[in-house]
């Protein structure tokens, strides 16, 4: 439905230097999907979104929506944002302070090329206001709304013209933590109900994982990995993705042998030989980095049945009680690993504890020299 091909966008900063904001971006979002661009600030995710919106003019590439091309570098075609018919919610909400709730929402219907009668506008506005539960506030001054209400008003305004595409630029980042979680559910419910194709930009990995059908992790202007939330989390393709999405232990290693089972390898590391999984095939002797999620490091006082594979008798170095979980720093030889376990594990500091990791949860990826390369 939304197709972005070989998109390059650059701009010049205040110092007049060119900034390569988005580099060789390829995106394909199916109809009705919720697609998220995830990455740290300055990674090019907002530039990509603004290029899709038409607020930024890309250097080259092609963008099309439902097979209608809205930008093509080679053909010199650029449809201005007000002719693209996309809805957009901005980070600041951009609620016009000189208008009330109703006129803010009605604006897109009044200024568009399709003319609506007063009654039609009224009906459409009230329907969308009801969908975001603001219908009782239609005459309220926009400046008198709370943060969550402003956020929903911005959403209503983006939806009222029934856009082909909904663009959301960190819409939840200005809300406080409790409200953010509430709006996360709200947003997901609305998107799944309306089945509207959505591109969402965020730097918050839990938002991205919670909301999306597909996530693209970006860094330094390039997409690092595109996949389902589970793929991104459990099968990161490079060190950046593993590090940015969730927290992880990195262990350097070298491939000892390819195992019989498809995708599994024997890896030599500073904490001994491990059994690990890799999406990309590797050969014996290759340098790799292993990513081990803290919650995948199981701790127990009792010795596990099988201690031959990925098991250590480690020492508890430090521990932190978090309420719903317990963080342990354990020492395997000289190496410290982070483990997140159930709070029922109460091994005191200085005591030994058994640590075990499922081989499928030890993800091998190319060593860090290749960090910036797109997959």
């Amino acid at each position: 439905m939304l197709k972005v091909e070989a998109l390059f966008t650059e701009y010049t900063n205040e110092l007049g230097q060119p900034v390569k904001a988005a580099q060789d971006i390829h995106i394909d979002v199916p109809e009705g999907h919720f697609f998220t661009l995830l990455g740290p600030s300055g990674c090019g995710k907002t530039t990509t979104l603004r290029s899709i919106a038409g607020l930024e003019r890309p250097k080259s590439g092609q963008i099309s929506v439902s097979d209608v091309v809205v930008f093509s570098g080679s053909r010199g075609l650029f449809v201005p944002p007000n002719r693209r018919g996309f809805g957009m919610v901005f980070q600041s909400y951009a609620i016009w302070p000189h208008m009330d709730v109703f006129s803010n929402t009605a604006f897109p219907l009044q200024v568009g090329r399709v003319k609506f009668s007063r009654a039609e506008i009224d009906a459409k506005v009230m329907k969308v206001l009801a969908a975001v539960q603001l219908d009782h506030l239609r005459d309220r001054e926009a400046t008198k709304l709370s943060g969550g209400q402003q956020q929903r008003l911005a959403l209503a305004r983006a939806l009222v013209m029934e856009p082909k595409l909904l663009l959301l630029d960190e819409p939840l980042s200005n809300l406080d933590a409790k409200l953010r979680e509430l709006m996360r559910f709200e947003l997901k419910r609305l998107q799944r109900e309306l089945k509207i194709t959505t591109v969402y930009v965020t730097h918050d990995q839990s938002e991205a994982l919670a909301l999306s059908h597909q996530v693209a992790v970006m860094n330094l202007g390039r997409i690092q990995q595109i996949g389902s939330p589970r793929d991104i989390y459990e099968r990161p393709q490079n060190q950046f993705v593993a590090d940015f999405v969730g927290s992880t232990n990195f262990v350097d290693g070298r491939v000892l042998a390819v195992e019989a089972e498809q995708g599994f390898y024997r890896i030599d590391t500073e904490i001994g030989a491990l059994r690990a999984y890799s999406v990309e095939p590797v050969r014996a002797g290759d340098k790799v980095v292993l990513s081990i999620r803290p919650e995948d490091v199981d701790l127990s006082d009792a010795q596990p049945a099988d201690t031959r594979v990925n098991a250590w008798h480690a020492m508890v170095d430090q521990k932190v009680f978090l309420g719903e979980a317990m963080d342990f720093q354990i020492k395997v030889g000289e190496r410290t690993l982070l483990s997140r376990t159930h709070p029922s594990v109460r091994t005191p500091i200085g005591q030994r504890v058994w640590a075990r990791i499922e081989p499928a949860k030890v993800v091998a990826m190319p060593a860090s020299a290749e960090l910036q390369k797109s997959p």
């Binding site: 449809v79 018919g85 951009a94 200024v111 509207i196």
Partner: protein, 582 residues
Amino acid sequence: MTPDLPIPSRPSAGASDAGFSINWKWLVIGVCVAFTLYIAVIPLGFLLWQSFFTPQTATKAAVFTFGNYITAYTDSDTARLFGNSLRYAAGVSAFSFTVGTGLAWMNERTNTPFKNLFYALSLIPLVIPGILFTVSWILLGSPKIGIVNLVLMNWFNLSGPVFDIYSMWGMIWVDGLHYSPMAFLLMTAAFRAMDPSLEESATMSGANVFQVIWHITLKLAWPAIFATFLILFVRAIESFEVPALLGLPVGIHVFTSAIYQAVHRYPSQVGLASTYAITLLLITTAGIYFISRLSSSGSKYSTMTGKGFRPRQIDLGRWRWFAAAVFFVYFSLIVMLPFLVLLWSSLQKFYAVPSMQALQNLTLDPYRFILNYPNLGRSVWNSLFLSFSTATVIMLITSVICWIVVKTKLPGRWLLDNLASLPMVFPGLVLGLALMIFYLNVDIGVYGTMWILFIAYVTRFMPYGLRFNTTSMLQIHKELEESAAMSGASWGTTFRRIILPLLKPGLVAGWIYIMIVSIRELSSSILLYSPGTEVISIIIWELWENGQYVELSALGVMFILMLFVLVMIAQHVGKKFGIKEH
């Protein structure tokens, strides 16, 4: 998609009509840029050109010469002129700075009683135009008829007048008083912008009061102090009314009065006036250049946030009543006395010093005379029409200019900003001279009509409009505009329905301010008016030249009351739109 929100009913975008909306946008931008160029650059160019030509007379055509510069710069009179101007401007700026800073400090940092009232009154001096302020101080301080002199002579049995307003010191006194409210407002802003926690942390580090003032307060306020001083200096060296009314009769010449005289001589020495004007322009340009350098370097001191604090106040103890008395005396000097002396003189048949006998001769004759004055109706209409259209045109054009400067990334937008601010360096008289020369030489039917006054006013006050609009424009978040574009609004619609309404505070405040300053304008108008296009300040000037003091006073009183109403409206509107000071 669900039937609830079906596939968009909007037609898909096409490139052709997108092109149309862009053209419309570029048309408006183009017109505004062209207008700015025309307004800001042309008069300056012609002034330069003219300064290299001999005067044109009926028999002799103008020829190219360096003679004007040679005459001007080899003449010992010019050296004196230069010295006078600098002494005058330095005196005025030092005096008004001292008064304004003292008052601002008392108002911001001490517990002087009634200071809120005083701050509210700080806009009132705007209502007394320079020419009326000068005239009223002549009525107060002239050696022959000045009330203050006569009263003092009477009380202390003196044989001669105590002071003479027709002197360099008199000029400095009158103009210094006139500019002191400006110094007060600028320094108040500087005091308010200073974060007291910076001073408090110095105190906590063990510094005493004087160390704090020397190492922190003064160092932080230095850009503001220097900029204020420079602004006052530039305004003083440009000022025309005081040097013309007080200096010319006793032969104290400064650049502005010398330009006026050179033009009004026969044959009129426009070339010589131009060289003086160029010299004056160089001085003001240097001043404005340093001011803008200061204000941009001032942003380095952005720790001065000016948000959410109330500085600790110094308790003056019993001295606070003395401070309140100082406020009262000051207010009397700049508003009460000038207005009362005009009111008194406007109720006399012939000008007389207040006495019991004169009190019995009160009459409304001067008002009758003025109301039947042949040119009055027309000049009032001209003034209102000019100030209204000037304010409107400036605010609309500068809103586009500052949109380009603030919101776009167009190359060369800084140049546009500088061009639109360029008229700031024009003293009113120099601008008048430049436009006069240009439209005398380029006959497109502008000279001798209202148009030339209109052009002069727009040129002169455009920088103010830009300033007001820029302040508001900077507060409009970029996304407010982008969300309109995403809603399908074209550039024109966005500008009309989003930008202009959000600019309203700045637009309205700037509009009223420009209305007030253009209704008082004298120094450009005096070289550009012709019979039929007189404005109110010109009528006042004429009455002064004719020695019709009581009639002038009557007109002055009515004029001040009219401006008072305008200022009141301005304050009211300012409050309504959340603008506190300008």
